[in-house]
């Protein structure tokens, strides 16, 4: 049951083969058994889930509802959920219960989906391993000694282990795609502005984008159908009409032009990962696609550009966590300054504090031009590279990450080394284009994700390409051993 797709489950719910309450209990039971091993949830909202399931069953009994009605989902703990603890993986928000709902979770709620709980994440979405959570590291269901990736590591692990049908994630520099790759699931980072950021706790406002994480492209399409589209509460949300993400899934790929950027296959890429990617590309050729080498010459610069822009925006976005109106406040502050200084030093973890300081430095007087402005100029060069490449090809393919999931604690001493691993994902956020991670095989028993990047607002195309691949492969249907026993 836990391995089935949204389409199949929706059909079963509609046919009354199963009720949403039963389905929800199945997942709650699995969470009770397996989550202690994975730590993929920060909050399990059992009571609320069962209420919502019951309401969904009533809707379905009346012949109402959508394909998400009664389907259990989980939300990254960065989306504000009214009445449910929202921590953003931080001690700072250990007691924060929002009196409002994010647009993404509201739309999923309105569609009748059931919220199982809130998933673990790197604190304030800063990290690529989920080791930076105040609520403890998340384990990769394929190997409990390895990381699930980050920052949406809890969502990825929960989907991979069958602790939810699907989940939401957010992606600022790869936070949906990299954990999807490490955990062998499908994830989509939409075009910047395609999905509302309202109620998403901001890391870097000009890069953040919420999106679906699920077993298959088709399941992602179901979620996109619900969450995408204009929201008047977010000034950066696009008014471009949304596509029908389910309608074109079956379009054949004959004549599809794939670009392989040579910079994605250079030094640093694990040869075993490279093999998996090239095998996947050959599969596309079999499906009628043509492949050509392209170049994204400024790729290398995406790392410094990102690690200036993201921390700069973060340093300002995270100023509101000051112990005045919500969240953590230090004990017995001796004065106002002491309250600020200790509240923030206690409430934020080290990686968050480090990025706040990097950003503060980059924006400070005398450095703004050399850092922030320079990074924004390079950002344009990176965007231009993609625009040029995508005028020649329909989609760009490459690896999501240079390696498969690494050992927990193995990179903790060298965070800069971890930054370098984001090389294949950061540029997509800087340019604002959509991209997916699609399960493409295994290297030494660990999943490898294929990254598919497309033009602005080409989510439907990406989902179509990924779906066709999944019609001819079964990598997305693999289940980790630990998940099978439960």
């Amino acid at each position: 049951m836990f391995e089935q797709s949204i389409s199949v489950l929706a059909q079963k719910l509609r046919n009354k083969d199963i009720s949403s309450v039963e389905l929800t209990r199945t997942f709650l039971d699995r969470i009770a058994k397996l989550n202690p091993l994975l730590n993929s949830y920060i909050t399990i909202s059992e009571e609320l889930a069962l209420q919502q399931a019951q309401a969904a069953d009533e809707r379905l009994a009346n012949g109402q509802g959508s394909s998400l009605t009664g389907i259990p989902v989980a939300h990254k703990d960065l989306f504000c959920t009214q009445g449910t603890l929202t921590t953003c993986g931080s001690k700072m928000l250990h007691n924060f219960i929002p009196p409002y709902e994010s647009t993404v979770t509201q739309r999923i709620k309105d569609a009748g989906a059931v919220m199982l709980g809130k998933t673990n994440m790197d604190e304030f979405a800063m990290g690529s391993s989920n080791e930076n959570s105040f609520y403890g590291a998340v384990k990769n269901p394929w190997n409990l000694d390895t990381v699930p990736g980050g920052s949406s590591g809890g969502s990825a692990a929960a989907v991979a282990a069958g602790l939810t049908v699907a989940a939401t994630g957010t992606d600022t520099g790869g936070s949906i795609r990299q954990p999807a790759s490490f955990c062998g699931i499908t994830g989509l980072k939409p075009t910047y502005g395609r999905v509302s950021r309202f109620g998403m706790i901001a890391y870097a406002s000009s890069l953040d984008q919420g999106g679906p994480m699920a077993k298959s492209a088709e399941d992602c399409a179901h979620l996109m159908q619900t969450i995408a589209g204009f929201d008047d509460k977010d000034s950066t949300c696009s008014e471009t009409p949304k596509d029908d993400y389910l309608a074109n899934l079956d379009t054949p790929l004959t004549g599809l032009k794939i670009g392989l950027p040579k910079e994605y296959f250079g030094d640093g890429l694990d040869p075993k990962v490279a093999d998996v990617i090239m095998t996947a590309v050959k599969e596309f050729e079999k499906l009628g696609a043509t492949v050509k080498e392209i170049s994204l010459p400024n790729l290398q610069l995406s790392i410094p550009s990102y690690y200036v822009i993201a921390p700069s925006e973060a340093s300002s976005n995270l100023s509101r966590f000051d112990g005045v109106r919500f969240g953590h406040r230090c004990e017995d502050p001796k004065d106002l300054l002491d309250m600020y200084m200790r509240t923030r030093a206690e409430g934020f973890g080290r990686e968050v504090q480090k990025r706040i300081m990097v950003g503060t430095y980059a924006l400070s007087e005398g450095y703004y031009d050399a850092y922030y402005l320079k990074a924004q100029k390079i950002r344009r060069l990176i965007k231009n590279d993609f625009v040029a490449a995508l005028s020649e090809v329909d989609v760009i393919m490459g690896p999501v990450a240079p390696t498969t999931a690494f050992g927990i604690g193995s990179k903790a001493d060298d965070p800069v080394a971890m930054y370098l691993e984001d090389i294949y994902t950061l540029s997509v956020n800087l340019a604002g284009i959509p991209a997916m991670s699609v399960p493409a095989g295994f290297a030494d028993g660990m999943p490898v994700g294929l990254q598919i990047m497309g033009n602005y607002f080409a989510e439907a195309k990406l989902l179509n390409v990924a779906h066709q691949f999944q019609q001819h492969t079964d990598w997305h249907l693999q289940t980790p051993t630990m998940a099978k026993g439960a």
């Binding site: 929002p98 009196p99 075009t191 910047y192 502005g193 000009s206 008047d232 000034s235 950066t236 696009s238 400024n298 290398q300 610069l301 790392i303 410094p304 550009s305 690690y307 200036v308 340093s315 100023s319 112990g323 005045v324 109106r325 919500f326 969240g327 953590h328 406040r329 001796k334 004065d335 106002l336 002491d338 600020y340 923030r344 030093a345 934020f348 504090q353 480090k354 706040i356 300081m357 990097v358 503060t360 430095y361 980059a362 400070s364 050399a370 850092y371 402005l373 100029k377 390079i378 950002r379 344009r380 060069l381 965007k383 965070p415 800069v416 930054y419 800087l430 340019a431 604002g432 602005y456």
Partner: protein
């Protein structure tokens, strides 16, 4: 590019983060390594390149001037560490 401990304390103060001596030494190293990483930007010629701050380069949308929200004070105050008489309380502010 490296920064000294004093720089670290200055930045930490601007960002309102209390650092111990030990923290300051650690951050001095980790910040210096990030700053060296970003230093490679300086080798690129960006003369005449317009900075890009929003990927879609859209323009600001406007909201009609209407009051759409009522009073939700109690809901908001419920999350605050300390309140009284409908106010958020903070340690004494001295002008």
């Amino acid at each position: 590019m490296s920064i000294d401990k004093q720089d670290v304390q200055k930045i930490a103060h601007l960002a309102r983060l209390a650092l111990t001596e030990e923290d300051a030494v650690q951050y001095q190293h980790s910040l210096s390594s990030v700053l060296s990483l970003v230093e490679q930007m300086q080798s690129v010629n960006t003369d005449g390149v317009e900075p890009l701050s929003n990927p879609l380069e859209m323009t600001q949308r406007l909201r009609e001037d209407v009051v759409t929200e009522g009073n939700h004070r109690e809901e908001f105050l419920a999350n605050a560490p300390q309140t009284e008489a409908g106010l958020f309380l903070v340690p004494k502010v001295i002008d």
